[in-house]
């Protein structure tokens, strides 16, 4: 009985610790939550491309943000199947010092969405590697530049 209770409490603790607020497609809701680096996620859909931003909270004095290309539009897939296969499902994971988050607030998300090079030092992941490879221009032009931000 005791063991069952301990397991249940631990499970509840884990589930509550892992819970991420879903802002659906409301970028302002996400921006508000990410100001103090709360856990949240938002989907940004433009031209049928689906991008997801996730704030994973604070870990070792860094605010963990993640940017994932969930789905590529059919148009882009037909235009450049190689790029679509390369980019779909890939992420950019950033560990941004809390001081930088406090100073920049809104700009951080804009910079991640626009894949600004100044974030090279904080971010890693397959998207970053793709940007450094021969597909740099294609990825930047087709995926990073035309995102409507509020």
């Amino acid at each position: 009985m005791k063991i069952t209770l301990i397991v249940l409490v631990l499970a509840m603790f884990l589930v509550s610790g892992c819970a991420i607020k879903d802002c659906q497609t409301d970028l302002n809701c996400f921006k508000e939550l990410v100001k103090d680096c709360s856990k949240a996620k938002v989907n940004i859909i433009y031209d049928d491309n689906n991008l997801r931003l996730t704030s994973r909270g604070i870990w070792l004095e860094d605010c963990r943000l993640s940017f994932k290309i969930e789905q590529i539009s059919e148009k882009l897939r037909q235009e450049d199947p190689n790029l679509a296969m390369l980019a779909e499902g890939k992420t950019l994971n950033c560990a941004i010092p809390l001081q930088v988050v406090e100073q920049n607030q809104d700009e951080i998300i804009d910079n991640i969405l626009n894949l600004e090079e100044q974030f090279n030092e904080y971010c890693s992941g397959p998207i970053k590697d793709a940007l450094q490879g021969p597909l740099k221009n294609a990825v930047k032009e087709k995926m990073g530049m035309n995102i409507p931000l509020n």
Binding site: C18, K41, K90, N93, G125, P126, P134
Partner: protein, 255 residues
């Protein structure tokens, strides 16, 4: 002493007596990783992997590592009940002092420790000494996924052990079970393979496929727990399901 602690003591003694063979079991998987890392260092030329500098070692690791874990865990435990049955084994004598449920969990617990050590060794060889390209957010994600599969392998091994009538049948069925699970998960690696939704649901419910997919999502795409959480829940359900079926059969056979 409770049934569980008695069973744990017995199982620990068994492992101590066969320390060398257990060590060989674990080291064999490390050796396979070393060989695999040497022979599969060929650049992948399709699916955009060339641009990212992927080799076949990087691409296949999320499928090969789970296969190693599954093989070792199932083989390690598959004879622990059927091999101890009368007339050659001591199971009947042990069951006088230990409950069947305690016996089951004692064996599972002790072998889980060995399996955890195996997961750490596979991680060290696959990610540190002969590093595979990985964007995983943390080593904990990888080791956790390895260990979940190890637990599945142990519950599967115990299930086979409980349901088998003879040692021979348990030994014979194990490779087919493991290879069957492995082959049906292979389909997920190749891009452009289209499956009907019904078949896909079956293939995607295969625990090896669930772990392979979670590992490749984590290692190749760099996703976090939120994207693989559903797979983790499914594999936990598999483990609970196999444990319940095994316990029911094991307890039922005394009546």
């Amino acid at each position: 002493m409770t049934s569980l602690t008695k069973s744990i003591h017995l199982e620990l003694n068994y492992i101590k007596e066969r320390g060398l063979s257990t060590l060989l079991f674990i080291l064999a998987s490390a050796l396979i990783i070393v060989l695999f890392s040497i022979v599969a260092k060929i650049r992948v030329g399709w699916g955009g992997f060339w641009e990212l500098g992927y080799t076949y070692y990087d691409l296949l690791a999320p499928t090969i590592f789970p296969l190693l874990i599954l093989f070792v865990t199932v083989q390690m435990i598959v004879l622990r009940i059927v091999g101890e049955r009368a007339p050659y084994g001591t199971l009947d004598r042990e069951l006088i002092a230990i409950s069947r449920t305690g016996m089951y969990f004692g064996k599972l617990f002790v072998h889980s420790i060995i399996a955890f050590i195996q997961c750490i060794i596979i991680y060290l060889f696959g990610f540190v000494f002969f590093p595979v390209k990985s964007y995983a957010l943390s080593p904990i994600t990888i080791i956790f996924l390895f260990f979940l599969l190890a637990l599945f392998g142990l519950s599967l091994g115990l299930l086979v052990s409980i349901f088998s009538r003879h040692k021979e049948s348990a030994v014979q069925i194990t490779p087919y079970l493991v290879l069957g699970l492995f082959i049906t998960s292979l389909i997920l690696i190749f891009p452009g393979v289209t499956l009907s939704s019904g078949v896909k649901v079956i293939f995607m419910s295969n625990p090896v496929a669930l772990i392979s997919q979670s590992l490749s999502e984590s290692m190749i795409n760099g996703v976090g727990f939120e994207d693989i959480g559903f797979n983790i829940i499914k594999i936990i359900l598999w483990i609970i399901g196999l444990t319940l079926i095994s316990l029911l059969k094991f307890n039922f056979e005394q009546k």
